[in-house]
Amino acid sequence: MRRHRDWRRRCGAATLTVAGACALLGSASCAAQNGSVVVQPGAPGEPTKTLPADTHGTLPPIAAADVAFMQGMIMHHSQAVEMTDLIPSHTENQEVRAIGAKIASSQADEIRMMQRWLKARGQATSMAMPGMPDMDMNGKPMTPMPGMLTPEQMAALKAARGAEFDRLFLTGMIQHHGGALVMVKDLFDTAGAGQDAEIFEFVTDVDNGQRAEIKIMQKMLEEMH
């Protein structure tokens, strides 16, 4: 209690010392905020400003590159899910099944997250022209995202079984993940992109997580030889 009164007193004193929120907004808001202040420091050496007690957050801008990244990554991730879907019928290798389960789980989650992110911003979740999955919005052939398996590679994977499947799956997924790292790098090399907290954390995590998975798969490949 003593402590509490103490703060009330300091809050009142703020009217004299700092141009505090309490000073600007009167004792009612002071009490409502329990005597707390909202401040914003300046650059090093500059004074700290006091902001109104009812200050609320605002968000940094979003770049077109952010939207394109999310749309492209959905397409990219979808292929990874397509690849992991083959595992149950194509291999008995426990390690491949385990890493496949891990990848499937992450990529499926992330696809949802990206779809939500785009929807909430009123953006299309696909880059493709409606009804024309191989065409972009301008009617030009869709350029595949970096690292995506070619139709020939996908066909070979689907046709393989057992050890051959394991090898193609691991090399294919390493290639695929490597492409995601390129996409992340490209995003951060683009002006104004990646300032939104969600996209920043998401892509940073894609980068970290896929790097780790690449390493695990490389090791598995080595051990197969």
Binding site: H4, W7, R10, G35, V37, V38, V39, Q40, P41, G42, A43, P44, G45, T48, L51, T55, H56, G57, T58, P60, I62, A63, Q94, A98, A101, K102, A104, A108, D109, E110, M113, R116, A120, R121, G122, A124, T125, S126, M127, M129, F188, D189, A191, G192, A193, G194, A197, E201, F202, T204, D205, N208, G209, A212, E213, I214, K215, I216, K219, E222
Partner: protein
């Protein structure tokens, strides 16, 4: 100190209010008013590429999580019958359950860290939601409407000093008065975006990590404008970001002499920014403190910060990858703080390759191959034993830090079950290290019934002669829902003498208190959990950190605010053990700068040891009874006269033959020492 990275429905919300579309807003505002039911159809966005109109129920369904894939063979999942598995959802009214802990206080996060519309009934929200055409607002999940937990305003890590708690936030930080933990009270909200806002305190200085591209030297909230669209015909050309001299990524230093008016005194820029940082005190130099900077994000261009390079190490020996940075801070002149070294902690000492850590698989020492562990996520230093444990994406490493400016790697481990080495803590005696695996980056639901209990778990290592060896895994035993982001996250030791106990945050998995005295058999001794923020879609939330500070446990709730807990006695932990833990007092707590715990020779500490010896049956019932009686009588007489002498006699006559483990032998030893020289 976490990697957040996935699964952000709240993103949705944010957007609804702010961005969604300037374009949409303009276009749709001109429409004549319609009834809400009609609107739910006609306000659907103009059909976008490849999408069909959806009813609100379908929209909701669309955001619903997919069930977890089946357990991989040979793996064990989580317990679906635990009371934590099914709790009522809600942001502020979720169901709660606890064992061995009491939830004594909660405060909501400050208004400055929320967007300006917090109620689903707020006309601003209703109007925006409708204009967005996401569906009928009345039928939308509350979580979608209320813009509750945006990552841009997420709470992050804690630091403590005296009666003050410092809570980081992606948008700044806040300071609370905790002189009465049950009446925790907000003092200061400091606006200064840049994420993740990891904080440390040392005397009158506060340090804060910034990594995101919207961070500004002047703490401005506006970020940097996106570039205008490219000229026609130049769409495919690569345009590099404009160098911004006002951008800040690195470690900010504030003077907090006036707790209500923190002043920025320095801002030390680094190439990758600072995802986390670790305060390092040099026992031999009180004039300076050091900051180890862990950067996990992209390397910016040299045009923005001179010398920054993200080239491969064989192409550029000065690459900003494969290193940490050390900032030296003169305590009396913090404005002179600067980077004084960039230790190559992943170097191969034989070849000199900067990327020398072997990768990928298990703990074997097969053929080693240069790999790409190129960053640490978090480092915990334990200066008292001259070591640091680094959690470095693909590896757990051990550093010798006797020369704090030049840490040297002495061991490294990896683990096939690990996705992302995230953080570390030592046992007080330095014989164990608990690492965490932040599988999924912290925003995924990773504690579902089918998620393996070795993935996204703690890995407990024994540490002997600077060598780490895996002893076991510990994961939150209770199954959590599909809409609860959950994985191992930040924790601290609970100073119960004679045992190794850690309290740990598991995001929406809540708080779990674990005993790892026997590193091969960790077990849970207390927990707190509340239901998901929403049960239809994953809304980011939960505890980022849960730390013990001077007798109280504090939880940093990402979306909701601050939680305050007390431990309560159970069969796993006695009141004496709790009281003994409360005898340890520190003036500052920066969890990643681990301090050696020491217990006063108080009788309550002796009673805690006695309870433990009773539990393991290392003393006979008669011996226990006699000792308890003697201690009681000494307490009654305030350690005066004969009663103290009696304790000393009993200490000398203590039968140590019952100790079957080194732990019990040590407890008996410590008990005897207290009984010989007890203090009031």
């Amino acid at each position: 100190m976490g990697t957040l990275g996935k699964q952000l429905p709240l993103a949705a919300l944010t957007a609804i209010v702010l961005y969604a579309g300037a374009g949409l807003l303009g276009a749709q505002e001109q429409k004549p008013a319609e009834t809400p039911s009609a609107q739910s159809g006609s306000d659907q966005e103009q059909p976008k590429a490849g999408e069909n109109k959806k009813t609100p129920a379908e929209e909701e369904e669309e955001f619903a999580p997919k069930p977890a894939p089946p357990l991989p063979p040979g793996m064990t999942g989580a317990d679906v019958n635990d009371p934590r598995a099914k709790l009522k959802p809600g942001i502020y009214d979720a169901g709660e359950t606890a064992m061995g802990m009491k939830h004594v206080a909660f405060v909501k996060k400050p208004d400055a860290f929320q967007l300006n519309a917090s109620s689903p009934d707020d006309p601003v929200v209703q109007k925006t939601v409708r204009m967005l055409g996401v569906g009928n607002p009345a039928k939308m999940p509350k979580a979608m409407q209320t813009v509750i937990a945006q990552l841009a305003f997420a709470n992050s890590d804690f630091a403590f000093q005296g009666n003050h708690l410092f809570q980081g936030n992606f948008y700044g930080m806040s300071i609370y008065d905790i002189s009465n933990p049950a009446k925790i009270n907000l003092l200061t909200t400091m606006v200064c975006p840049g994420g993740q806002g990891d904080v440390s305190v040392y005397k009158n200085l506060m340090f804060m990590s910034v990594e995101m591209p919207n961070g500004r030297v002047d703490c401005g909230v506006q970020g940097f404008p996106p570039e205008p669209p490219p000229a026609p015909g130049h769409e495919k050309e690569r345009r590099l970001p404009t160098p911004q001299k006002d951008r800040f990524r690195g470690v900010r230093i504030f003077d907090i002499s006036d707790i209500k008016n923190p002043k920025q005194v320095a801002a030390v820029q680094t190439c990758r920014g600072s995802h986390t940082h670790t305060l390092v005190e040099d026992p031999n130099d009180k004039d300076n403190v050091y900051i180890y900077v862990s950067g996990t994000s992209f390397v910016r261009q040299s045009e923005e910060l001179e010398g920054c390079s993200n080239a491969a190490p064989d192409k550029d020996p000065n690459t900003a990858l494969f290193r940490i940075e050390v900032i030296k801070v003169p305590v009396a002149h913090p404005e002179e703080a600067k980077v004084v070294s960039s230790p190559r902690v992943f170097i191969d000492p034989r070849t000199g390759a900067l990327n020398g850590l072997n990768n990928g698989g298990s703990h074997d020492k097969g053929e080693e191959k240069p790999a790409d562990t190129n960053q640490c996520h978090d480092i915990t230093v334990y200066s008292a034993i001259g070591l640091a444990a680094g959690a470095c994406s693909g590896n757990g490493i051990l550093l010798d830090i006797k020369d704090p400016v030049n840490p040297k790697r002495v061991d490294a481990v990896n683990d096939p079950n690990y996705s992302y080495w995230h953080s570390a803590s030592f046992s007080n005696d330095g014989t164990k290290v608990v690492y965490t695996d932040e599988w999924g980056g912290g925003l995924g639901a990773r504690c579902r019934a089918n998620d393996p209990n070795k993935w996204g778990a703690d890995a407990i290592f024994s540490l002997k002669d600077n060598k780490l060896s895996l002893a076991s895994y510990y994961k939150l035993p209770a199954a959590q829902g599909d809409t609860e982001n959950c994985v191992a996250h930040n924790g601290s030791l609970v100073p119960v003498p004679g045992r190794d106990i850690e309290v740990q945050a598991w995001y929406q998995g809540g708080v779990s208190v674990m005993d790892f005295t026997d590193p091969a058999h960790p077990f849970e001794i207390a927990y707190f959990d509340r239901g998901p923020i929403d049960d239809k879609m994953l809304v980011l939330g939960g505890d980022w950190s849960a730390y013990w500070y001077n007798g109280t446990i504090y939880g940093s709730e990402i979306a909701r605010g601050v939680d305050v807990f007390e431990l309560t006695p159970t069969k796993f932990l006695t009141q004496n053990e709790i009281d003994a833990a409360k005898t340890v007092h520190v003036n500052e707590l920066n969890v990643q700068d681990q301090q050696k715990l020491e217990w006063p020779a108080k009788l309550v500490v002796a009673k805690a040891y006695l309870d433990q010896l009773a539990r393991s049956q290392a003393l006979s019932a008669k011996q226990l009874g006699d000792l308890q009686k003697a201690i009681k009588s000494a307490e009654r007489s305030h350690l005066k006269g004969k009663s103290a002498a009696k304790l000393s006699t009993m200490a000398n006559g203590l039968d140590r033959s019952g100790a079957k483990t080194p732990g019990d032998a040590a407890r008996l030893e410590a008990l005897a020492e207290i009984l010989k020289h007890p203090v009031a």
